[in-house]
Symmetry: C2
Subunit: 319 residues, 2 copies
């Protein structure tokens, strides 16, 4: 199987082992997206070795239920043990024994084929294009914020960051009607934020004197200074959502958290179905975030491109 693998370095190989697992569906990957988590794994973070990738759309080629064969699908990336309390409740996202597609114990989506439990697959409606469907996973992650934090219409939300995940957060929250201000460092990305429904954007390089304290601050910049900024601009009693995976220990002024009685909420994955519904609604077109497309054979170059500051979503076209 042709695949983009990471061991000591990133490499495209033609002979990766078949990902097929007993009882699961085998999916031929159509295209896949590169996420910052992939870039961090490729820098050695998290200790994952193997085929990378977890944002994908594909077509089922083998499954016990033959009705599934030929369906176009996206997939929940967490595969639970199936028997613990969390899995029994239908939410394997925190199952202790879970594997995670291209992240933990499970071969990923930057390959001709991937394997996932049938219950992880969600069919993609015909009206959603392949390239839009690739955004289902990160859009679900963005929507996950609304699962975790109740934001009332009167409350103000500030988003720190203007990268690809941050902009999906803009889409998700603007659709939910939130009063959103985005702080970023790239004019063109802040333009997109406004197109996606941000009421206001602020260039982080300029003075921030006019920034009102916010009820909710979402840190999605991935930068160590993001949390510091968030703690400075959130109202007492307010909420800071951490949406980026920081892979290094960060120094935090916890006395601010206590004295101002702040809430800090870590947010990782969301549900795929609401994301697919949103993509179907036609009010949302995340494909404008695509900055580059590469063939799988050019995967190493694709990663280099995805690491550039001006890059947005880089897509691998696989079959």
């Amino acid at each position: 199987v042709k695949a983009l693998t990471f061991h000591d370095s990133l490499k495209v190989v033609d002979d990766a082992p078949s990902p097929q697992r007993d009882g699961e569906a085998l999916v031929r990957v159509i295209c896949a997206g590169i996420c910052n988590t992939d870039l961090e794994i490729a820098r050695g973070y998290a200790g994952f070795k193997g085929v990378l990738g977890h944002e994908f759309v594909g077509r089922v080629v083998e499954a016990l239920d033959s009705n599934l064969v030929g369906r176009r699908v996206v997939g929940e990336i967490n595969a639970g043990c199936g028997s613990c309390d969390l899995c029994a409740k239908g939410d394997p996202r925190h199952c202790k024994k879970r594997t995670v597609l291209g992240i933990k114990g499970r071969s990923g989506a930057f390959a001709e084929f991937l394997s996932l439990p049938v219950c992880n697959l969600i069919e993609v409606p015909d009206s959603v294009s392949d390239e839009a469907a690739v955004f289902a996973e990160p859009l679900a992650a963005a929507l996950g914020i609304l699962e975790q934090v109740q934001i009332s219409p009167k409350e103000s939300v500030v988003l720190i960051g203007d990268g690809k995940l941050a902009l999906l957060v803009v889409l998700a929250l603007a659709q939910a009607g939130e009063n959103l201000t985005v702080i970023g460092k790239h004019e063109s990305k802040l333009d997109l934020a406004r197109r996606f429904g941000a009421r206001k954007t602020i260039d982080a390089r300029a003075q921030q004197a006019d920034l009102e304290p916010a009820d909710v601050v979402i840190e999605a910049s991935g930068s160590p200074s993001g949390l510091e900024t968030a703690l400075r601009i959130v109202k007492p009693g307010g909420t800071v959502v951490l949406k980026s995976t920081h892979h290094e220990p960060t120094t935090v002024d916890l006395s601010t958290v206590v004295v101002n009685e702040l809430k800090i909420i870590g947010s990782r994955c969301g549900r795929m179905k609401p994301a697919i519904e949103m993509l179907k609604s036609d009010r949302v077109d995340p494909t404008v975030l695509i900055s580059n497309r590469f063939e799988l054979a050019e995967g190493v170059r694709a990663f280099a491109q995805a690491s550039m500051p001006e890059a947005m979503k880089v897509i691998l076209q696989i079959s």
Copy 2:
């Protein structure tokens, strides 16, 4: 006015300025308790200079409403501006212009007299002794956790710390019926935790192999390693409550917070009325936490005693 003041050092003086403020009630302090925040201020933390102390019971000696004179009272320590949105909603705890008794912009309770707005005073029922009433403020802070976090009866709670504030948290949570495990380092304090209703106690110096991951972990040890421990033992999706003021920046592994989708909640002050109700209920006797009593004139020695590891609540008897 005789008072225990902190400027460059801690000192008992006989000629502190009268604390009286226009329109406020003047209260003769009966007795007052030393809190860790006082110890930290006396080490130079928070920059407060003046008369320390915020845990007290006293008797009103002057007030515009003569009905108040002679009443025995405790007081909410945050005095708001009275005109901002928060104050208008009756909760000055986060008013930006607030003063805080013995902590910020307002002379404190380690003095013969203090001044507070009438709306901050809560009358103490006759059945509650002076020394029990002194615990109203820290008990309110302990009860504040239940204002901020919904804990269902099925959920498990681990409390890190066995100091005086931690043990009041035990009282507050055990009364609320919580399933509470306490981790501490002092056998006698852990004994008290069990008397106060903890279902289980664990000596932190022993192996912790048998500790089940908890739904809610409350860090009340005041030690920098407390949060680290909390993040290690909390369930994915669980809540960590920060109940101690850490006065130094702390290094936190934020990727654990994101990947496990944890909530970290800072908790400082609570409401006095529920605390007074609890003290009145007679099921609760916090005065067993008193380890030492001193006259105001011996205030400096009292602080030295309160800083000892084995000390619990140190009381200043003032009038």
